[in-house]
Symmetry: C2
Subunit: 292 residues, 2 copies
């Protein structure tokens, strides 16, 4: 089986796809995948991971969907809602620890001298957001350049001859031969990114401890969201997530991504969602899968 | 009065602050501001606009809060909820039309030759997101470099000697002496950015056609959001917006930004929000202001 993910080596996505690959081999997702060879397909963006699975160049894909600090990964939510018909068949949680990485030459005179020598900081926009207070405090006037992944930022620093720094994982440091100048620089603890495993046709197995993800839009009339949530409340369903995104047709129109405890095969979920479809003018099932 | 905004000249924020300044002079926000001189204070990020107002280096600030395609401006929502105590006293809607701008030398051989000559595209991440399908279709392999504003991207292209392109407004093109190679390249019509005017101590006047913005968090128990919305439903209040953001303490905990039709001085809004405070464990009034 071919599994697409956001490369290069050293990304948190690589960590997620390896956790997912291990759980496939453990049989967590049923016998059909156990023992098969899982070839990884490197992509250069989250959008490419999703379109690679949708287009059949990979069988499955692992892609970031939300972070506990920075919030939703917009491109993932928007593509799942509008552009592709894929099933979420699993989820993986990866704790995110960001570090300030420099070349050995920048670090060798000590931490203080290394910090003062830095002329530019490179990272992915999400990682920059996760370290915003740190950067404001210690590097208020140093330019920040965005890269398409934290690992690519580390590669760019390693390949340069400049006193640049990358915000990335210790995994990226090890792979690029960079030195950790300052460890664990993210603004908040509890920094976790949630990844989902996508398939063209399969949901995850019903293990008895599952989640079901849906997306819907209500009519733009007073109380419509309240009534939609009332359906879920009536069946005593527990929401573990609700996330709004613009409907993109008019300011003030939203679609809602909701995760519910339970599997779509469960009778109460099936009945509640049958009713919810009637109460919404757009509804899409995204899939059921074992809770991480 | 000093009004902070995201510069340099040519940004959509500049357009917003000029619309706001004109509405101040028209007396829309009451007599206290009419006729006063309104000096503009240029900032280099949305975060700086907000902290400039909170710190007293400006009296008011105009800052982007959401876009109809890309969704919320996370830094604005997060700072209003957690970092500062400011009042929203007005809102401004600015239609966003993005264009592909190049130097005259790149464009002079014609549009097709100009497009083929482009080696790099520069813009603000939000603008890149708004033109994502356009870029995928026409420039799948051309690198995109992020800049801190669309106007800065235009300045960088104008100052270079390269065949670069910027995604920015026609206003930026005029100010930097750039040529519009391809006009109106955003993926969707109805691309509107909503800006809010912030003050340390004043809400907007009650004109009879107002909005009130609040942010709250419910307890992490089943049905808590449903019950909170039930309070607003009980008082027949009309929600014009609901937006979730991570509470940042744990994946799956959210705070909700809600806009309601009406002014906080209105009796039904006051009564409903008094009850809502009792039903939520975090509640913050962000302000009431005339609807744009």
């Amino acid at each position: 089986m071919r599994i697409a993910y956001l490369g290069p080596q050293g990304t948190f996505s690589e960590e997620a796809v390896e956790i997912y690959r291990a759980s496939l081999d453990s049989g967590r997702y049923g016998a059909f995948t156990t023992g098969s060879a899982h070839e990884l397909v490197q992509c250069t963006s989250n959008a490419e991971v999703i379109s690679t699975v949708a287009g059949g160049q990979a069988d499955e894909g692992v892609v970031a969907i939300e972070n506990s600090i920075e919030g939703p990964v917009n491109v993932t939510l928007d593509m799942l809602a509008w552009d592709v018909d894929l099933h979420i068949k699993g989820e993986v949680l990866v704790p995110i620890i960001q570090n300030l990485l420099v070349r050995y030459e920048t670090a060798e005179a000590g931490t203080g001298a290394g910090v003062r020598a830095i002329t530019k900081i490179l990272s992915h926009p999400q990682a920059v957001g996760q370290c915003a207070a740190f950067l404001n405090r210690h590097f208020p006037s140093i330019p920040v350049q965005y890269a398409s992944s934290t690992a690519l930022a580390a590669h760019m620093v390693a390949d340069s001859r400049e006193s640049w720094a990358a915000i990335a994982s210790t995994r990226a440091a090890a792979q690029c031969g960079l030195t950790v100048l300052l460890p664990s620089i993210q603004d908040k603890d509890n920094n976790v990114t949630r990844f989902v495993a996508l398939s063209r046709d399969k949901d995850g197995p019903n293990t008895g401890k599952c989640k079901t993800s849906i997306v819907f839009a209500t009519e733009h009339v007073p109380g419509s969201l309240y009534r939609a949530l009332g359906v879920l409340n009536l069946w005593d369903l527990n929401l573990t997530k609700i996330e709004s995104r613009p409907a993109k047709n008019q300011l003030g129109n939203y679609i809602f991504f909701v995760d519910i405890e339970g599997h779509r095969e469960d009778e109460n979920i099936r009945d509640a969602l049958t009713m919810l479809k009637k109460k919404t003018f757009y509804f899409k099932m995204l899939g059921s899968y074992p809770t991480a």
